[in-house]
Symmetry: C2
Subunit: 359 residues, 2 copies
């Protein structure tokens, strides 16, 4: 079976399994904010499409200014990118031919980008028995032997998140060994505030490179906007390698609209925390294991059954989870679900309850 490498492709899941897509489909396989896009997006003047008959400013000065205000960092420490994906690829390119450490299971594009730019990859795994926590001791000693470590925080696909204290220790230790730490915070805007993001640490440590994305929190995966926060010198080099007009002007023109509702992100965090608490209580009471996620997705495992049967059952009921066959170390032993709207989450619980009752 050739499993798709990414979520958000319901049709492929049906054609792959040979199951019929005869019901309404609920896509739990893409990790987007179910509360988005922000309301203001619906009031946008369609002229925004026609004004795109001008080349985008190749330096994206105004967009950079807006994002730097939003993130509270200097524009010299910021590079806007064509989604989080370009941020990952430019970073891997920066370390061409060097040595990278990747912690699995994680987002597959770090490994792909590192392979393309000829990095030698060392692999460690999260501690599955301890709910996918960081293997701190092993991590600290191994990072001494590489040039760059790629971390995802919160981690995709587990939804789990390392503490600020652990991250500080890692970055500090890496700094003394001239190792760079790349932290992909593509889902950081979903996380409640006691888990601090690493912006303040970036100001102290030159070896810390943060990757972020507006794609997930604003539910605009098709519009593509990400960015890198890093030391000025690194930003300059990344920019020197970026293709011109990499970012489309529609998303650039929409930035003020996206940032307009200052409560949107906060409201999402509050809502998500409630949904996660509710879902985990209900799912555990049905004897499913779920990861202690702080993000808008989680891993689930039926403690009594093979996950392949469960996947087919869900597809038959119009629910598309993300398979985990392409995540190193998971190999299909879990399913990943996005936290969707309350209604969709209820439907998922309903279908899982039926599944449990019929076995």
């Amino acid at each position: 079976m050739k499993w798709p490498a990414h979520g958000g492709q319901p049709e492929k899941m049906y054609s792959l399994t040979g199951l019929k897509q005869d019901k309404q489909v609920y896509d739990f396989s893409a990790n987007l904010n179910p509360l988005g896009p922000p309301e203001a997006m619906k009031l946008v003047d369609p002229q925004i499409l026609y004004t795109s008959n001008r080349y985008p400013d190749p330096d994206y000065l105004e967009a950079t200014r807006q994002i730097s205000l939003h993130e509270g960092v200097s524009k010299h420490n910021l590079l806007a990118t064509n989604g989080g994906a370009e941020a990952i690829f430019l970073t891997a390119q920066f370390f061409s031919n060097k040595k990278a450490l990747i912690l699995e299971p994680t987002f597959s594009e770090y490994r792909r980008a590192c392979s393309i730019y000829n990095l030698t990859i060392t692999t460690l795994t999260y501690d599955e028995k301890n709910e996918f926590s960081l293997p701190m001791e092993n991590l600290l000693s191994t990072l001494e032997t590489v040039d760059v470590v790629f971390l995802c925080r919160p981690n995709n696909p587990t939804g789990t998140m390392s503490s600020y204290a652990d991250m500080k220790q890692i970055i500090e230790h890496a700094s003394t060994h001239h190792t760079a730490v790349v932290v992909d915070e593509a889902f950081i805007h979903f996380v409640r505030s006691e888990f601090e993001d690493l912006t303040s640490l970036q100001k102290t440590y030159d070896n810390l490179i943060l990757l972020r994305s507006l794609t997930k929190i604003f539910s605009i995966p098709g519009l593509r906007l990400g960015y890198v926060i890093a030391h000025e010198k690194i930003i300059r080099t990344l920019k020197g390698n970026q293709i011109p007009w990499s970012i489309n002007s529609v998303v650039i023109n929409l930035l003020p609209t996206l940032f307009k509702d200052q409560h949107f992100i906060k409201n999402t965090k509050v809502w998500l925390e409630q949904q996660l608490a509710y879902l985990s209580t209900e799912l555990r009471s049905l004897d499913f294991y779920i990861t202690p996620s702080v993000a808008n997705f989680y891993l689930l495992k039926d403690l009594h059954q093979d996950q392949a049967n469960l996947l087919n059952y869900l597809l038959e009921h119009g629910i598309i989870p993300r398979h985990t066959h392409t995540f190193i170390g998971l190999d299909g032993r879990y399913l990943r679900f996005a936290v969707r709207t309350e209604e969709e989450n209820h439907y998922l619980l309903h279908v899982l309850k039926m599944w449990r009752e019929n076995r």
Copy 2:
């Protein structure tokens, strides 16, 4: 002076020269179709923005099918890209660490991409005395010594175009020496039909890589869509190096709209040919040299004056030409103008007539 590396940035030209931007501005510095975007674009449902809250298909199957129909090539020979720029960068990456030949003056991004991917660059120049024609003899012998040659047809910034027969000879000769020929046909859709495009040659010669763009002909530089036409094996490797979701879903969703008016491209060619004939007659009668362009832009030179004075005069009258300081071999000795609407072209002629009368 730090001249901007690309056109389409009127504000930068004013801030650079210190001149006041107190009039309406006519941007002749970006090479876009003045007849575009197609009328159908104005009728687009703005919902196209909200449907972008789904990830684009990472394989762009439907978009690839539509472009392959439009170009009459197999989908296996086609890769859709984030504008022509990504097509250039992926191609340079394909030849990483090898030897490239670039003919100057030309679009600056071939050289930039080759530098980023560590290609050794040999430079030849177009024959300025013979209206920027190809230096055939020198070109044929030099291409034997490199792995890849980058050509632009019609060439930016001159607007001139090598003949089909010359191109065939170059590609054939390169083929026997295992040299690849990259032809950037970003402006080919503007050119009248007796100048054949090279699609048919690509089907015969594995060493021919064609780069195209919908950005210019449809006046959608902010929406970003280009593509590569090449041998299946090359396409597969380029795709393997492409960042995921590189192309935004707005332009993907707009493709049927862009291709809807089947006469749009043909009408553009007919209109452009008339305008070029008119402009060259008028400009030559005013004692300006202009290149024998077949594209939607041309180089101009005042035969009696320094171009720097002319540039300032034009900026003062709200006309923004493209300076040529960043084109190797031109070094400011010409100005490049886009063919704009009839009204704008008339205004340009009017201002140039005043310039001529006052000196």
